[in-house]
């Protein structure tokens, strides 16, 4: 059957190509997917999820992750923190019929015209040893006493202070950076790692927006599941919150008006120096008048259908 039996222009993208594209981006722009404290520059093996990096990234000496300040120790009077890493280690999409990854039982099977998204994120955090805490504690106490910052109020005894400011190396060329106080990470020997997997099922629909005269393409969320968080009620609460954020906070921002999907071919020719006597436009095929679904999520692909309209002139 021809691709264009119900349209003038047809475009389709297979799920495998999107997933391969994501893997290419992960390998070539790792700093978009990995976030960690500078400690990890010399301790790449301590990342929770191992990741591949393209040779050209290494040759260009691109950072493998985006640097983050250490996780601050709340309440501590000194600017100290813990090393941590946060990674998006897997991302995949599956168009109906589902065959790229299995969905958790809570979401059921992937039904017609639906797509599923799978994300896996890992976080690793330093947990300071008893020895380090015991070593630091006297300094913290001395600092608090010297600054009179105790809950018990002021003391009569005057205790000399201690050095608190971190001096960045000269390599840090930005003067503002030198002036800024940096959080000092505690020595790290081992990370506690955990990973979370998130599955979401969505679909597209055309609809109106109150007050608007045109139709809009809207991405919708069918269901969301975070795998195996305990206790159960906490998992439900987090999922409910994420679902609400997506449905009311993020997805409404992603709706696209029809006018944004119309390509004015006449204007494109005009840019090339040829004025067409008529208006030629490429616009999405209407649902359900022209095609039953547009975009259609089927055969492991996302398919788009467009029609060419010629108006005006002779």
């Amino acid at each position: 059957m021809p691709f264009t039996d119900h349209s003038d222009l047809f475009g389709a993208v297979h799920e495998d190509s999107i997933n391969r594209l994501v893997r290419h981006i992960m390998r070539q722009r790792p700093s978009l997917f990995n976030y960690a404290t500078p400690f990890f520059h010399n301790n790449l093996e301590m990342f929770c999820a191992k990741f591949e990096v393209d040779d050209k990234v290494l040759k260009a000496k691109n950072p493998l992750f985006t640097e983050q300040e250490p996780l601050p120790i709340l309440g501590a009077p000194l600017p100290i923190g813990l090393n941590f890493c946060l990674q998006l280690s897997e991302a995949a999409i599956d168009f109906h019929p589902g065959n790229v990854f299995g969905l958790p039982p809570e979401l059921g099977s992937l039904t017609a015209q639906r797509f599923a998204l799978h994300l896996k994120g890992c976080m690793g955090m330093d947990c300071p040893t008893k020895e380090i805490i015991n070593e630091l504690l006297p300094h913290i106490e001395r600092f608090l006493v010297s600054r009179q910052q105790l809950a018990a109020g002021e003391t009569k005894e005057q205790v000399a202070g201690t050095f608190t400011h971190y001096t960045p190396p000269m390599a840090a060329v930005d003067n503002r950076d030198r002036e800024r106080q940096r959080t000092i990470p505690l020595p790290t020997r081992q990370l506690i790692c955990f990973c979370l997997e998130l599955y979401a099922v969505g679909y597209f629909e055309w609809g109106t927006v109150p007050g608007s005269q045109q139709v809009w393409l809207k991405p919708r969320l069918d269901g969301l599941e975070i795998v195996d968080i305990e206790p159960r009620d906490m998992e439900n609460a987090i999922e409910c919150y994420l679902t609400t954020v997506l449905k009311l906070g993020i997805l409404p921002r992603l709706i696209i008006p029809l006018e944004k999907m119309v390509l004015d071919i006449s204007k494109e020719f005009q840019k090339m120096g040829l004025t067409l006597g008529r208006t030629v436009q490429l616009e999405p095929s209407a649902v359900p008048a022209d095609v039953p679904n547009n975009p259609a999520v089927e055969d492991d692909q996302i398919k788009a259908f467009f029609k060419l309209t010629v108006t005006g002139g002779a």
């Binding site: 021809p2 003038d8 297979h14 594209l21 290419h24 070539q28 067409l276 030629v280 492991d300 060419l308």
Partner: protein, 324 residues
Amino acid sequence: MADLTVAVSESAFQRLFVVLRDSIRWEAQDSTSFGPFTAGYHVKGHLEGGSVDFRSDNSVLIDELDVRWDQFQFTLGLDIPEICVGGGCINMPWPIPDICLPRWCVFSANPDVSISPDLAAFVAQELSVAGRPVVRYYDASVPPPLIDPCGLLRDMLVNASVIDPFPDHNQWHIHLNPDFIDLDLFDFADIVGNLIENALTAAVTALLPGGWVRNLILAIIGGIADFIRWLLDIPDEIDEWLSDLFNISFGLGDLLIQLVGEFFGACVPLLRVDDPLEVLAKEISTSVLLSGAPVELVPVTVPVRNLSVRVDDVEMVVQADVGG
């Protein structure tokens, strides 16, 4: 199943072809002089007729596209040096007035002789061309052959800023390879048909100012003119049919045009796709390092595999895979 598929219907091509054909018009004029001689031209034309046909043998036929001239005027002039006789005065003694002779000049105009025929009614061309898309892979690491006629042509076009130079990375190239080109420099059928139709239309319009009778007669005249065009075009149709059948142009002129077309088709790609293809441009980021120091992030590229273009009788399909 291919990773990426784009298909365009024959019907969409046909509608776009009609809009393009009706929109393309051209006009040029110039004149120059060589001593006493002057020469100039003023031409104005447009396209008519023609059709686009996708065929099941992976080819596209643009059939019988007419080139029509609204003005096809050449001017030749000759400026003959001026010759004058007479003039001058004879001084007479007072009180007799001076006697002045009349002065006669010939060839005073510039140019003195000029002809400027408009041949628009007698000039018409018709073009039929069939071609097929061919995909080739340009491997930048392979050195060019010792004798490289394509390289010479490409260098000329690059120097003239017609095409971009070939890059130092690999590319997919989509070429259009002509099967046959049939260009009738004098479309005899249409010239005669137009002349007859114009003459009869003018005569009927003069005799009958208006009304349904005139419209009916004009419709009949149009039909007769079309029949004459069809009749006179039969030899050309046979020529085109044979050219299409054997995938070669008949006639020395058409053969030469086809050879030139094939040379261009083989050497100059219509469309190029980089391999690998850049999906995220290189970027100077100041947010990757805590210090805010700028970092030049390398571009993200993906390999393009198995690019193909095929045509059948209903659509043109472009497919490609994203490499692993």
